[in-house]
Assembly symmetry: C2
Homo-oligomer: 719 residues x 2
Amino acid sequence: MSHQETIRAPAGLETVSALLEPAAIAIVGASDKSRWSAVAFANLTQGGFKGRVHLVNPKGAIVHGRQAARSCVEVGDTIDIGLVMAPASAVVDVITDLADAGAKAAVVLTAGFAETGAAGKALQERLRQVCAERRVSLLGPNCLGFINFANRAYVWTTPVMAPSSSAGVAIVSQSGATAYFLSTLAYQQDVGLSHVVSTGNEVDLDVATFVEHLINDPHARSIAVFAETFRDPTHFLAAAARALRVGKPLVVLKMGASEVTAKSAIAHTGALVGDDRVFEGICQQFGIIRTRSMEELLATADVAGRTGTLRPGGLCVVTNSGGVGEIAADTAELRGIALPDLREGAAAALRAAIPDTATAHNPLDLTGSVSPGQCEAALRIIGAQDDYAAILCPWYEIPTAPEQTSERLSQLHHHLAQGLAAAPVPGFLVSYTNTTVNALAQSIIAETGANYLACGLDRALSALAGTMWWSRHRHALARRPASPLAGPEAIGERPRSEHAALDLLSRHGIPVVPATLATGPSEAIAAARAYGEPVVVKIASPDIAHKSDIGGVILNVLGDAAVSDAYTRVLAAARDRCPGAQVDGAIVAPMRGRGIELFVGCSRDPQWGTVLAVGLGGVWVEVLQDVALRLLPVDAGEVRRMLGSLRGAKLLAGQRGVPAADLDAVAGVIARLGDLILALGPELAELDVNPLWVRGSQVEALDALFVWRAAPQAPAPRH
Amino acid sequence: MSHQETIRAPAGLETVSALLEPAAIAIVGASDKSRWSAVAFANLTQGGFKGRVHLVNPKGAIVHGRQAARSCVEVGDTIDIGLVMAPASAVVDVITDLADAGAKAAVVLTAGFAETGAAGKALQERLRQVCAERRVSLLGPNCLGFINFANRAYVWTTPVMAPSSSAGVAIVSQSGATAYFLSTLAYQQDVGLSHVVSTGNEVDLDVATFVEHLINDPHARSIAVFAETFRDPTHFLAAAARALRVGKPLVVLKMGASEVTAKSAIAHTGALVGDDRVFEGICQQFGIIRTRSMEELLATADVAGRTGTLRPGGLCVVTNSGGVGEIAADTAELRGIALPDLREGAAAALRAAIPDTATAHNPLDLTGSVSPGQCEAALRIIGAQDDYAAILCPWYEIPTAPEQTSERLSQLHHHLAQGLAAAPVPGFLVSYTNTTVNALAQSIIAETGANYLACGLDRALSALAGTMWWSRHRHALARRPASPLAGPEAIGERPRSEHAALDLLSRHGIPVVPATLATGPSEAIAAARAYGEPVVVKIASPDIAHKSDIGGVILNVLGDAAVSDAYTRVLAAARDRCPGAQVDGAIVAPMRGRGIELFVGCSRDPQWGTVLAVGLGGVWVEVLQDVALRLLPVDAGEVRRMLGSLRGAKLLAGQRGVPAADLDAVAGVIARLGDLILALGPELAELDVNPLWVRGSQVEALDALFVWRAAPQAPAPRH
């Protein structure tokens, strides 16, 4: 069932607040026999939650040492939210009972809904209806609940390990297990967490709703999302755009890149998995930081949340090992992080401050013989440079066992922390490789004030690369005009032939090659004479999409006899190879010389909407799939970024005999084409402009193919 | 100084044995004031080493509570090796003293040699000479020593944390600090280690020597190398080839990919850093598993060492979380690991054995409600399938704290371990994300017999991808003929012109396009008539390398007048644009139609030797640098692998109007060309065959350019 078919009241942000900040919670289906019940009860009563906790069990027995009520209504208190672990068949009745007791929201752990097949789907739909009717917001079903670390509402069914800070990453995950694994990793590395939310089957509250809410929550410094699909893409993209605008990093681990995954996602949550490359384009467009593993997701959200928007500039790496400095330099290059070298002034100042055996450049290897004071002095010099957006110190990890501590190490960590803190840009102390933080390490961190990453150098560099990329997006955003594009007016034309297609483009501001539709050899000759240069002769038929393949295109035709012959040949080819096709004649157009040939197209993604594709033509598209994708609309600036991201981008700078493309001119034409595509509406299934020919500032569509889908029919009336 | 200039006795394997298995060790320069001395003494006296340990200090004082001798000779015992931490200026004398005391080897920690500049270089050269004269093998200088875990010879200057097994990864690192960080990570994740060797400045014993030695050591299940450069490339490659042949995985983290690194490597060890892309080709060729971070290096060496050569097949992933299954599937696809789906028989058997809510496919999500017994049953069914080379179970990590343990978790781990152990292929239990192993976890591992990886799913998949790639190399090796290529005989010709170059190629079995050197218009006309088809007319000049750029090539010329005109025009172009160039006339050759155009070239890498480059011509080389590199010699099988690795490899299967390339024919021609390049000797600086034109099984060099360097001159006699 696609999101369009689901009719539901959009969850207001107040609802999410009510869910995440309850004063009274009922555990419905509480039972001594259930692990989940016992853990959830312990989480709420021993985790520091200040609100009221009630137990409900239809038998009304003593549960977890307390008298349970037989229903929510029987509790006799206003219940804000219910944590529901009743059997699937009972959940609908539980919602009614909760609503009667005044509950605004329910968290349904119970599985056995849409993820299990047709009967489960029907049950889920019934659940959705009851929630809508009774105005109960629903988290789940088939989820593990949520954790709000700020108010210690651990509405969660596995043991909760709280990191030392409740300001940090907010985890929002469709998979409850993955949310749990991420929070375990955060605990082990002492990454601050504000929330953990498991959204399960998302009958009502989905990932987008929580992202939107968390943008406003000051505890959530960044948002880490694990998702298989986005059930309300429009809502998600609006939230993503807002997150970028206000500067809250949105970091995503989205599955669905592999065919295998597409299969298991269906089995797992009944989710649609869209084209991974479309999502990649969306991340580029909306400044969503995409990651590829749980570790990278957490480290990136952690780093971006701590730094916020970085100023423009590169990274300075300061370490005590030449080998590690080299690893840092190589890895930074692989991830697109610049390590600008020290300017002469800074280098000279450093030479006076660091050991003789150290060389003053970036990465800076202070060597094993550096003193703690020299570390701080070096960092103070580097911090004063304008070239760096951040500083990274891969160094001995903060000890987790007393035998690892020493006076020298403690001094080193102290002075490194001081030196980093003095810089006006973010600076991190990072372990060489991934490690953990325990109570001893926490006390050292508190004492030294170290801004410490236990994820190790490699993950820290991924995280910084993501953060720097995101920061560039934000700087670009600030430079862009704030006013949105004027929505183009709808266009009702439905051209089917190439000639009509080029004509439509031309009338809407897209430059096209001049072309004449000839219906006989003499018309073809007249057209060619009028152009006065070699022409191309192409079969004109709305039924023949791939003209070259059937011999329907003859290039470089000059002279009356040759033109007449070409006309006859392309018509004969059509007759022989496509006997049933409607043939309108032949198109005669002037030959264009060497130029850069682009491919511009659009298609409709069933999940995300109209996707614009821009690439280099020919083998670049066919062999390398070297295409940039974006959702429409796009402005010319975004088109320039698309062009710049192509692997063959270098070709745009010109080759032998082909002048460089005027990128502003090209981007302007493509952006206009995007507007036109939107104006043509959803009946346009596909468009190929191939090639869009470019020579300097001359830009022309040489061929265009529109594919229309039948207009949507009104549903047949039921009798 | 390049390796060729260094004259030294190659270190025999006996020397390395003597070093790694000493009976008596002297710490020379032992002092209570030195951290290094204290730690090294503690490592040797408290770490379980069974040999004798002596202290030497020129003052002969009480050191570390023992009487130190004033010299090695004064010790009065035969000393096998010396651990030298004397000042740089004293090291040469220490070597003499050690030699006098019977030592076969010295480990020199002292820094201040070639890495510090000219004076240090001179001192290092003196050290080298003394070692050679006195037949003392040298590890270092500027190193941290070595550890042999099997005999507990901890000749090492930082605290040693021994993993629970001394069978496992052997670490060989040019950077002592990096060796230490890797061994710390191994300890934290309980990865078995056999050796840790830090080679420092490699005056004598280098990485290649240790790799060669460790291939024979049964404790070393795999070899993990961290290197900046290889001082004796030939030796290293011979060792790598042998490691592949006998099936010992060689895993490398080599720095030098970035320009920044190239700079710091010079500062760090005075090492030459070769072209990273050449090294990439070498890894492909020699089956060296290349990694990109310290974590990946260790995890890959660990996994490959534990599995050995995997049988052909894909991976089966069995987990208890749908989300993690999806992550595994996506990551596997990114890393080129196949996850073949279950065959119907296995799926049916599984459906009867696993929970109703689980779906029988790969990755297999057994769900949170699976029982321990069902886990084992599922693994036994999967283990019986022929499609899988390995099984991976991302699952709850093995507890490191008592509060994490539970009867259920213990049962799960037990049955998972049993199920994995029953399979005839390697199977691993892996933590979802990176974590650690402590004494509690070790006891659980021992109890359950779990084959456990604490590196986390993401690193485990990298490691398996590397191991599967390496295993494919080994299977391919088994299929190849054992006899090496016959060394081609030296060829003394030095063609400078295109015409002579094509002629040379032709006489040595490389098919070339027919071509005639015309010295006047009438000769050109005669040649064109003889071909009887359109021709290309090209300027013939040994001084003009890029003929097209100056208008020196005219394509598709037909008819006497046109040929005569073309001849005149290319000569005029040469006269106008290259006034000083020697002009021999023009080459007339038949035009070749559409085909696949390859680029084949060679160049000489200052470190590695003669490198063959194969790519697709035109923009593929110019814009994408889509070239595969290998050291010569190569056989046709290797050339086919080069072709297959190109990003544009799809083009070889043919395009519209261009038939597929006969890959055996192409590979045969390129391999012959490689042999010819070797036969032409080191005076050949560069060769471009561009294009090598292919149409089906027709393969022809259309153009060839040889670049010669001056013959090496005999050194001028000294007077």
